[in-house]
């Protein structure tokens, strides 16, 4: 099954159809996506600012990121699940959308950066890179609706 066929299948699945035809389905899933973004972005920003020594100056490196880890993972999962559901509303349209493709690439790069930084040092560089990539992904996400 090609990627395009998988997209077609997802779009015509019962979930995809339900979201596309319901009056509020798409809107509600978008709102969940946005709420998860608020929390995820918050954890990301605070960890990054701590890495740069701007806040929580008394805490050792990585301590704040560790304490925010659970909330960060939970909100990221919520974004991914809601994101997949939004995608299911019209997979072919997103498949063809340049901004969407760029967004997926930036997300992959950001997740990779996050995973790598767990095993290597240079927390400050990884934190700044992470924030930049996720910000790029968010802007690309906004561009989906505008391009």
């Amino acid at each position: 099954m090609t990627l395009l066929q998988a997209c077609e299948w997802l779009g015509s699945s019962s979930i995809g159809t339900a979201i596309r035809t319901s009056k509020w389905g798409f809107a509600l899933i978008e709102m969940v996506h946005l709420l998860a973004l608020a929390l995820f972005g918050g954890t990301l920003l605070i960890s990054a600012l701590h890495s740069c020594g701007v806040i929580f100056k008394g805490s050792p490196p990585g301590a704040i990121a560790r304490e925010l880890g659970a909330a960060q993972l939970a909100s990221l999962l919520a974004m991914i699940v809601s994101g997949i559901l939004l995608f299911a509303d019209g997979p072919l349209r997103y498949y063809a959308n340049a901004a969407f493709r760029v967004k997926l690439l930036l997300i992959a790069a950001a997740v990779l950066t996050g995973l790598l930084s767990r095993f290597r040092g240079e927390a400050k560089v990884a934190a700044l890179l992470s924030v930049t990539l996720w910000l790029g992904a968010a802007v690309a996400g906004r561009a989906i609706g505008v391009l």
Partner: protein, 163 residues
């Protein structure tokens, strides 16, 4: 038309309002700043509230969390207020009549009142809140109210487009 409605219509018809409303990209840029700015204000406030509720950052005192995050939240407020003002400026006549927008503004006022009440009641006591169990029930209630209001504000902000 009421006086306020006329004022909103006038505002929307000004050169600045018209320029933003009829722009190719300016409106989208301002709107993007406004949407992503949610992280700065609501993201930080949510984390403060979750700390007050003893759900995360438990190794940091409430005072330390507040001290570290309050400036970010205020910066976020400045970003949201200015981008929000420009968005409103471009469509004041329509937004004034939009129920989701009106409700959002009311919730924002309530969130401000809730925060003011919290600080008035607890500022002197916050230093003593070490263990999560020592946070007074009223303070935790205020945190729940805050989380609810900000959830409502974000949801209504998106709902504006549906009315």
């Amino acid at each position: 038309m009421t006086l306020v409605q006329l004022a909103c219509q006038w505002l929307a018809d000004t050169a600045i309002g018209t320029r933003i409303r009829e722009s190719d990209n300016l409106f989208s840029v301002i709107e993007t700043v406004h949407v992503l700015g949610i992280v700065l204000i609501a993201g930080t406030i949510a984390i403060v509230d979750l700390r007050i509720l003893g759900i995360l950052l438990k190794r940091q005192s409430v005072g330390a969390v507040l001290g570290s995050l309050v400036k970010i939240a205020w910066f976020g407020f400045a970003v949201m207020a200015s981008s929000g003002l420009l968005l409103f400026w471009s469509e004041a006549d329509k937004l004034y009549l939009n129920p989701a927008f009106r409700l959002k503004m009311i919730l924002l006022l309530l969130a401000g009142a809730n925060r003011w009440a919290f600080h008035r009641a607890h500022d002197s006591g916050i230093a003593a809140w070490s263990a999560p169990a020592t946070v007074p029930r009223r303070a935790r209630l205020a945190a729940i109210v805050s989380l609810s209001l900000w959830t409502g504000i974000i949801v209504l902000g998106r709902a504006i487009a549906y009315w």
